[in-house]
Subunit: 113 residues, 2 copies
DNA sequence: TTTGTCTATAACAATGTGGTTATGAAGGAT
DNA sequence: ATCCTTCATAACCACATTGTTATAGACAAA
């Protein structure tokens, strides 16, 4: 998977409220599929599909405990996408600073005129 | 639009490589639709649709200059989604610290035993 | 006014997403 | 052995996404 494809998968995974809620739940610690499904008015296969997308994006990983497949968050994918956004934010804030400087100079010149 | 719907729209918008490339281009400054379309092997209506999704997510806004509709980045939506991810990252790193503490304690106890 | 440029929209096709029910496989528990 | 729980997969449906071509609107230029 290329970096771009990984971003595709991660952003796609984060674009659904059910999946974000699942991630929020997993922040508190591991959980089985049934445990994750419980709060939602949704069938178990629907949750399994959501988990598959989260796993494909590298946002979660799954273990084995008898019949259960406990899910846990993987921080790396989250860190990568945060990093990507941070880069943009930095450039953007840089632009703002540039604009601020420009406006300050403009105002200074007006004062002089 | 609820905060959750805004996150849906923003993550969906960011989940496409063409749209991310458009944002990258707009980091350098305003650009018209034709200018944005130029680097892509894609029709102008396709680009217009991408711009519509970016606009719906609040990631860009558009002005008017004769026939042209110059696009520019809106930092706020980017800041919001970055904030959301940061919250998660913090909790996640918090968990890591917790784990580190746990491991340190465990090792200390082993030393004592 | 006619022409040309920039952009949006409509109509369409292919594919992806998000849900369902039905069913099967893995693995305790009785 | 049999049953129950957990989970995944297949088949299906409705709708969204992503591209296409064709066309129309707004506006400048001739």
């Amino acid at each position: 998977m290329t970096p771009s494809e990984r971003l595709d998968a991660t952003f796609t995974a984060l674009a659904d409220p059910t999946r974000r809620a699942i991630l929020a739940r997993l922040m508190q610690g591991e959980a089985s599929v049934m445990e994750l499904a419980e709060p939602f008015a949704m069938s178990q296969p629907a949750i399994s599909k959501h988990l598959k997308m989260l796993e494909r994006a590298g946002l979660i990983s799954r273990g084995r405990d008898a019949q259960r497949r406990p899910c846990r968050i993987e921080g790396e994918a989250l860190a990568q996408v945060t990093g990507w956004l941070e880069d943009y934010r930095k450039v953007w804030e840089g632009n703002f600073k540039l604009l601020d400087t420009l406006l300050a100079e403009l105002q200074a010149n007006q004062g002089k005129a």
